[in-house]
Symmetry: C2
Subunit: 509 residues, 2 copies
């Protein structure tokens, strides 16, 4: 469905005639300057601490192939342990070849992913083992839920890329399920998608399938990158072989690697924010260095996922003040390094309620106003990532759409100042019938898909449903209204053929 | 209870041993620069439009006394209609005598209200005709609910001032109920309080009772202002006699007037944001001019309450993108005029759910990051102000406490950078047992009063309560733990005596 056609339609949720809202702009620029947490000299202190960690402490790379690359690149590698120490000059040279801005190419040329500068991008929940909705309750994720999430987010038009493992399809065999996921990405939407963040096989299959989707050879795909993977690191200071295999395959193919240390303060990182950010920066830079040594100029994003734990129970917490500060600080550090930054809109609530909304909204403002470039988990995440909630997709859609409206660039004319209109309406009168109003009212205001602004009596008489309860109807209507984006039949068949062939190979061992 | 004593206590909500959280800082400074919506020249265009509205259109003042003041001050007054046209030089002179920053004095000298600059202040729901909670449902407001709200917000330590009509006590006779409200303010908390925004009698009683509370004469109170009123305007371009009587009484007594046009775009103001802001600015400046003509240097705050309506139904909407933009723009205009600004954290949700939370949180970030100085309705407001929700008080407390934590000024030491601690924890290890962690873990992180960070299974086994449902327990525990602040017995008796005497006078006609 074209953006133009959709934009021309109206949408309403309080009647039965549900129509889809307009898609968010593909290139959503933030007109506000970034919110800086630190003084410039304090950013330099943290970056210097990161270099000292890389020089003195090092990072364990549990892959002989990665060790070889790093040794050849000038790092000090202990072959017995895999511990790699990085001279800061090597890291700085890697930062210098990493692009500060780049484009990942979507199948739909109107939906390329612009990474860097002041562009804001939203991605979905990623990696949730469970699905939940108010009708069916909480259950293991499956490929049907995986496709549902892609369809709902596509129908609501809220995402700039699709995550790799939106939800874990545990109904499918582990060794081959990435193939079904990638096929779903290609069939259900038309935006940039991510491969699974772990595994060389998974990365190579993603690259092969992206080549089919784009009708490109591997070298053409490298020249016009399309894919990304979002990887974690086994913090503190360790990267395992599976993760490295994926990173190295992507780097060799010139596709984007987003390296995100997952560092809970007091658990996998120091309990202090500057310490946790120093470690996060060190770990992300270690991966960025590996990528640049493999392929200088390869797109890299450094990620932040520093949050805190409840020190009484050890439970991870998200959307906390600490998370907000880590996001503001992490993005500022990345800006200093001239590298794109990835953050998240997250919460630790067990259900899609006020807590989930508040914690997500709090991390969302920090992500957006820090000028984070990729905002992951921005739709559907609850329970610290253990569930993907259908209702939360809708709540998040409302938040993302509201923010996109606030970020819209705007200027105004003398007529918008309405001095004549104001002087013409008598004191104590109203503007409902003013020609100034009538000329504009149809498209004057942003429209919600979930908020109920009716009065208490009408709301009560309509069943007194909370926003979460109403969200069930919205995702059901979005799913019903979903139309798959154009996909060449030959490409679709080739993708299906590749999946079938690879499944046979994998089953054959 | 002293701030120190409370700060030393811990708090927990997931066990039965509920203890009160520390009070928010009395002077909560925002270390981040304000988020500007407009280019500087566009702010000047809007302010110029406001002057043109005041010069050409004027504002109706339905009070001969106010007209006389304005005429003497150089305005053009039509005695037949009350329409007042303001030469911009008169308005600019008034702005020049309005203080950009001032202090309102609380009974507790540690809790003065610092208005202006980068100080953020939170106030409660104001003017709600209904009370609602999950146990008793929605009902008309009464003086018991009024006192409950003061007690809960005091116990949670989240507010910088107390609103006038927190909730309308409809169980009390209209002519005298303001006396019971003021008595509640003095008895239940120790911070600055507001009088009712409408009425000369109400303002004069507030001033008299503040004099008793502070042991001050009227002229001493004027030299050391303590009170505020938050008034609306009968937008567009009209102020009625009752509102003006209150404003004039406050101005004569040197107490603070917060003039807030309530302008829904497309209804009481133009449908365009620049037009609505021009009108809002014009109307607020008209009141500020009146106040300065009565008493130059009297504290004035200009308020913004510009939002939109649902153009299909006419329902007011709050916490929308338009509301956020109006808040950012309104505060920027006030900054240009060197006047303090008041905004709100608001929503239009019929219940304390995800919508209420999202819309409130969205307007809250705009209020805080725009450097609004008084943030009204920041605790307990739902339904576009038609209900005060006990559960929402708790949800809002969580949001306000989170923001206060993010705003805390912070610096860090070399030890906080934790380079040694990071290098000492082995790759793949953890920081739980690190001496660096152990030395800090007890006070490392912000602690919630409402958020449940336990895992799904524990949450389910504890009753699967949403945050809103858990909030019931929190406000009940806060109410149980509430202790009234110190109040001299003689003052308390004198306040009670004044209330009794005035009630007799009012009853006697």
């Amino acid at each position: 469905m074209s953006g133009t056609r959709r934009r021309a339609r109206t949408h309403a949720v309080r009647s039965n005639e549900f129509t889809l809202p307009p898609r968010l702009p593909a290139k959503l620029e933030n007109p506000f300057p970034p919110v800086d947490l630190f003084q410039p000299q304090d950013v330099e202190r943290i970056v210097d601490a990161a270099y000292r960690i890389l020089e003195r402490g090092g990072v364990e790379f549990l892959s002989p192939a990665a060790q070889a690359v790093l040794r050849a690149g000038g790092c000090d590698v202990d072959a017995a342990t895999g511990l790699v120490k990085f001279p800061r000059a090597v890291v700085q040279a890697a930062c210098a070849t990493s692009p500060a801005q780049f484009v990942l190419h979507a199948r739909n040329p109107a939906r390329h992913l612009h990474v860097g500068g002041n562009v804001v991008n939203f991605g979905p929940v990623n990696g949730a083992p469970n699905a939940t909705d108010l009708e069916r309750g909480r259950r293991f994720g499956d490929i049907a839920a995986f496709r549902d999430i892609l369809k709902i987010t596509h129908a609501l038009g809220i995402l700039h890329w699709q995550g790799g493992v939106v939800i874990e399809p545990v109904d499918l065999p582990v060794p081959a399920r990435h193939l079904d996921m990638y096929q779903a990405h290609i069939e259900c939407a038309d935006i940039v998608w991510a491969g699974r963040g772990v595994g060389g096989v998974q990365a190579r299959d993603a690259i092969a399938m992206a080549c089919i989707e784009h009708g490109a050879t591997a070298s053409e795909l490298a020249a016009r990158p399309s894919l990304l993977i979002v990887t974690n690191i086994n913090s503190p200071r360790r990267v395992d072989g599976e993760i490295l295999d994926g990173i190295m395959a992507m780097a060799a193919a010139g596709q984007c690697v987003c390296a995100t240390p997952f560092t809970l303060m007091g658990a996998m990182a120091p309990i202090t924010l500057p310490g946790a950010l120093a470690q996060q920066t060190a770990e992300a830079l270690a991966i960025a260095t590996l990528v640049q040594l493999i392929r200088p100029g390869c797109p890299v994003v450094i990620g932040g996922f520093t949050s805190n734990v409840d020190m009484r129970t050890g439970s991870p917490a998200f959307g906390t003040p600490e998370y907000v500060l880590a996001t503001l600080g992490g993005a500022q550090i990345a800006r200093h390094l001239r590298l794109p930054f990835r953050s998240s809109a997250v919460n630790a609530s067990p259900c899609a309620d006020a807590q989930a909304t508040w914690e997500t909204g709090f991390s969302l403002w920090a992500s957006i106003m820090s000028h984070s470039h990729l905002i992951n988990h921005a739709a559907g995440w609850i329970e610290g990532g253990l569930s993907a909630s259908y209702e939360k997709l809708v709540i998040d859609a409302e938040m993302l759409r509201s923010w996109a409206e606030v970020l819209s660039a705007r200027s105004f004319t003398e007529d918008d100042l309405a001095v004549d209109a104001i002087c013409e309406v008598p004191p104590g009168g109203h503007f409902f019938g003013s020609p100034h109003t009538i000329a504009r009212y149809e498209h004057a205001f942003w429209r919600p898909i979930l908020s109920d602004w009716s009065n208490f009596e009408n709301w009560r008489d309509n069943g007194a449903k909370t926003a979460t309860e109403r969200a069930t109807g919205v995702w059901q209507q979005a799913l019903a209204a979903y139309e798959p984006p154009p996909l060449d039949a030959g490409v679709q068949a080739a993708v299906a053929g590749y999946v079938a062939q690879r499944k046979a190979e994998i089953a054959g061992g």
